[in-house]
C-alpha cells in the first residue's frame, strides 16, 4: 500500500491560511448568517435547553438519567450505544451545554483532520457547510463519532496503530460501527497485504482492528446484559425502528420529505459511486494477484473510507426497505466523506465529456425515486425532473470542483446555500419536525 501523500512534512503557513483559520472564518460567517436570519424571522428557533429535547435526544437523555431499558415488543433505548449518553452524564451538562460541547468537539476534530489531510482551503470551507452538520450542535452521537472516526482516518494515514485502535474503540462504543467497519477493514487489509513487504503490517492492523471491534461489541453486550438482562438488546431492538433485512421497495422515499431527500439522494449517489470504485479496486487486486497488472496506488485511508461508504449504502438499501431515512447524516456527516471528497479533488482534471458518465449515471439513478414514472409524490414529472436536475448540478460541482473555472464563485454560492439549508433544517428539527 503506498504511503499517503499527506505523510510528507507540512509547510508552515500563516494562521489565516490554514485549517484553523478556515474554521474561524466559517464560524464568523455562520454566526453572521444565523443572526441575520434569526433577526429577520426567517428562522424562528435557536438551540436551547427546551428546544433541544427532540427525537433521539430523548432516548439519550433517558439512558443518561436512568440507564438502559429494553422491551422485546416495543421501542426502547437499548437500540442506542452507551458512550455518548454516559459521556453526557459524566459532563453533568444540560442539553444546550452538551450541544455546545459537541460543536466544540466537532470543530476541533474537523480542524485537525483537515490539517492532516491537507484539504484545500476552499474545499474545506465548502465541506464545513455540509447541511447534515446541523447534527453536530445537538446532543446526538455525531460529534463524538466524528472525532473518533477522524482518529481512525489519521491513524491509518500516519501509520499510528494506537490512534487507529483508539478510534475504532470509540466509534464502536458510540454507534453500531462494527457492522460498517468490519467489511471496510477487511477490504483495506486485503489490498494492503498484497503490496510488497506489507503483509505482516497489514495483518497486524487487521487483526488488532478486528479484536478491537469485537471488544466494543462485547462491552456493549456486557453493559446491556448487566442492566436489562439481554446481552444483544441493541441488535434485537432494531426491528422496532424498521431495521430488518428486507427488499428495498420502489419508489425510495424519506419520511423527512423533499427538503432532506435531496441530501439522501446525493448520499445514495456517493454510495453507488463508492460501490463502483470498490468493485474496480477488487478487480485490479485480482489482476495483481494473477500477476497481470499492478494495483493502483490508492491510500489505505481512502480504501477504508470507500468501504465505509459502501457498507452504509448497502445497510440502508438492505435494512430500511426503500426508506432513505438517515442516509445523508450517516454518510456525509462523517470524516470518511471528507477523505473521499479530498481524494477526488486531488485527481488530475478530466476531459469535460467524461463528466457525462457521473451525470448520466445520476439521471438514471434518480429513477429509484420514480421521477420518470410519476412515482415522486407531490411532484409532477417536469417538477421532479427540475428538482433532480438541480441535485445533479449540485453533485457535479463537488465532483468537478478541482477544475471549475469559477471555482471561487461556485464554492461561495454552494457555501451560502448549504448554510441556509442547514439553518432551515435545524429550525425545523428544533420544532420537532421530521428532520433526520
Amino acid at each position: 500500500m503506498p504511503a499517503s501523500p499527506a505523510l510528507a512534512p507540512l509547510a508552515p503557513r500563516p494562521w489565516y491560511q490554514n485549517a484553523a483559520g478556515v474554521v474561524a472564518l466559517h464560524l464568523l460567517l455562520l454566526a453572521a448568517l444565523t443572526s441575520a436570519l434569526y433577526a429577520f424571522g426567517l428562522i424562528r428557533y435557536l438551540p436551547a435547553d427546551d428546544t433541544l429535547l427532540r427525537w433521539d435526544v430523548l432516548w439519550y437523555d433517558q439512558i443518561r438519567q436512568g440507564g438502559y431499558q429494553y422491551s422485546p415488543d416495543n421501542l426502547s433505548n437499548a437500540a442506542f450505544f452507551p458512550l455518548f449518553p454516559y459521556f453526557w452524564r459524566f459532563t453533568g451538562l444540560g442539553p444546550l451545554g452538551m450541544g455546545l460541547l459537541n460543536a466544540g468537539i466537532f470543530l476541533v476534530a474537523a480542524t485537525w483532520l483537515a490539517h492532516r489531510l491537507r484539504v484545500p482551503l476552499r474545499l474545506q470551507l465548502l465541506w464545513l457547510s455540509t447541511p447534515c452538520f446541523l447534527f453536530m450542535v445537538v446532543p446526538y452521537t455525531e460529534a463524538l463519532f466524528f472525532a473518533f472516526a477522524a482518529l481512525v482516518v489519521a491513524g491509518v494515514q500516519r501509520r499510528q496503530l494506537v490512534w487507529w485502535l483508539l478510534g475504532l474503540l470509540g466509534c464502536g462504543l458510540t454507534r453500531s460501527a462494527s457492522t460498517m467497519f468490519t467489511p471496510a477493514l477487511l477490504f483495506m487489509v486485503l489490498l494492503w497485504a498484497t503490496q510488497p513487504g506489507q503483509l505482516r503490517r497489514a495483518l497486524l492492523w487487521g487483526a488488532t482492528g478486528l479484536l478491537t471491534l469485537a471488544l466494543t461489541v462485547g462491552m456493549v453486550a456486557y453493559i446491556q446484559w448487566q442492566q436489562v438482562g439481554e446481552p444483544f438488546a441493541f441488535a434485537l431492538s432494531q426491528k422496532h425502528w424498521g431495521h430488518f433485512l428486507q427488499w428495498p421497495r420502489l419508489y425510495f422515499n424519506d419520511p423527512s420529505g423533499a427538503n432532506v431527500l435531496w441530501l439522501d439522494a446525493t448520499a445514495l449517489w456517493w454510495g453507488v459511486a463508492a460501490i463502483g470504485a470498490c468493485c474496480w479496486l477488487a478487480w485490479r487486486w485480482l489482476q495483481q494477484v494473477r500477476g497481470r497488472q499492478p494495483l493502483p496506488a490508492v491510500p489505505p485511508e481512502v480504501v477504508f473510507s470507500l468501504g465505509y461508504c459502501v457498507c452504509v449504502c448497502l445497510f440502508i438499501l438492505a435494512y430500511q426497505g426503500g426508506s432513505m431515512w438517515n442516509f445523508a447524516r450517516y454518510m456525509l456527516a462523517t470524516p470518511f466523506f471528507l477523505v473521499v471528497l479530498n481524494y477526488v479533488a486531488a485527481q488530475p482534471a478530466w476531459p469535460w465529456r467524461r463528466y457525462l458518465l457521473p451525470a448520466g449515471g445520476a439521471l438514471l439513478l434518480w429513477q429509484v425515486f420514480g421521477i420518470y414514472t410519476e412515482g415522486f409524490d407531490g411532484f409532477t414529472t417536469p417538477q421532479a425532473l427540475w428538482y433532480f436536475g438541480l441535485v445533479t448540478a449540485y453533485l457535479l460541482v463537488y465532483v468537478a470542483w478541482r477544475q471549475l473555472r469559477w471555482q471561487r464563485e461556485a464554492t461561495m454560492l454552494l457555501y451560502v446555500f448549504n448554510l441556509v439549508v442547514m439553518l432551515h433544517l435545524l429550525d425545523g428539527w428544533l420544532q420537532f419536525y421530521v428532520v433526520q
Partner: protein, 191 residues
C-alpha cells in the same frame, strides 16, 4: 399517421384524384369527431359541503375550523388513528376498471409536528387477491404550514381488478401529532 401514409401513397400514384383524396380525408376526420368512449372517470369528488342539511348532528369528521372551499373540510377526530372511510365498488362511478388513479386534494397543516399522516387508497379485493394499498405521506410532501397546499399522487393498479372490488379512501394518523385538514379531494381513474 397511418391514414396520412395511405393518403400520401394514394396521391403519389394518382395525382389527378387529389379532390377525391381531400374528400376522403375530411370524411375520416369528421368520423373521428364522433362520440368516443371516455378514457377517464371521476371516482370521488368532494368539497364536503354536501352533508349540511342531511344529517343532524353533522358527521364528526366535518370541520369548519379551516376550509379550502366553502365552509367545511375533513378533519381527523382527536384520539383516533383512522378517519371516516369513503368506500364504493370500483364499477359504480367508472364504466371500466381503471389501471391508473390520480388522487389529488388540498391539505392544511398547522405545523410540521403532524407525525406520520397518510392519505390511504385501498382496494379491497375481498380475498380474491391481495388488497391494493397505496398512500400519500402527507408530512413528506407538504413543507409549508398554516396555508392550504395542493397534493397529488399517481397510483398504478394491477390488471386483474374487477368492478366489484371495493375502493376505499381514508386518513391514517399513524403517530399522534397536530390535526390535519383535507378539502376538495378528487380521485380520477384512467384506463
Amino acid at each position: 399517421m397511418f391514414l396520412r401514409s395511405v393518403l400520401v401513397f394514394y396521391l403519389s400514384r394518382y395525382p389527378a384524384r387529389a379532390g377525391w383524396a381531400a374528400g376522403l380525408l375530411a370524411g375520416l376526420l369528421l368520423a373521428g369527431c364522433g362520440p368516443a368512449p371516455s378514457d377517464s372517470c371521476v371516482l370521488l369528488q368532494s368539497d364536503f359541503e354536501q352533508f349540511e342539511g342531511w344529517a343532524h348532528p353533522l358527521p364528526p369528521f366535518l370541520s369548519t375550523e379551516q376550509a379550502h372551499s366553502g365552509r367545511y373540510s375533513y378533519r381527523l377526530v382527536e384520539g383516533t388513528d383512522f378517519g371516516s372511510k369513503f368506500q364504493q365498488p370500483l364499477g359504480i362511478s367508472c364504466a371500466f376498471v381503471p389501471r391508473k388513479l390520480r388522487l389529488s386534494g388540498w391539505v392544511y397543516l398547522p405545523s410540521g409536528r403532524i407525525g406520520s399522516t397518510k392519505l390511504v387508497v385501498e382496494i379491497n379485493c375481498q380475498g380474491r387477491r391481495k388488497n391494493v394499498w397505496e398512500c400519500l405521506e402527507v408530512q413528506e410532501v407538504v413543507k409549508r404550514y398554516g396555508k392550504w397546499e395542493y397534493v397529488q399522487k399517481i397510483i398504478r393498479l394491477p390488471p386483474d381488478l374487477e368492478p366489484s372490488d371495493i375502493l376505499q379512501l381514508y386518513v391514517w394518523h399513524v403517530e399522534a401529532g397536530d390535526p390535519t385538514w383535507f378539502d376538495d379531494l378528487r380521485l380520477e381513474g384512467w384506463r
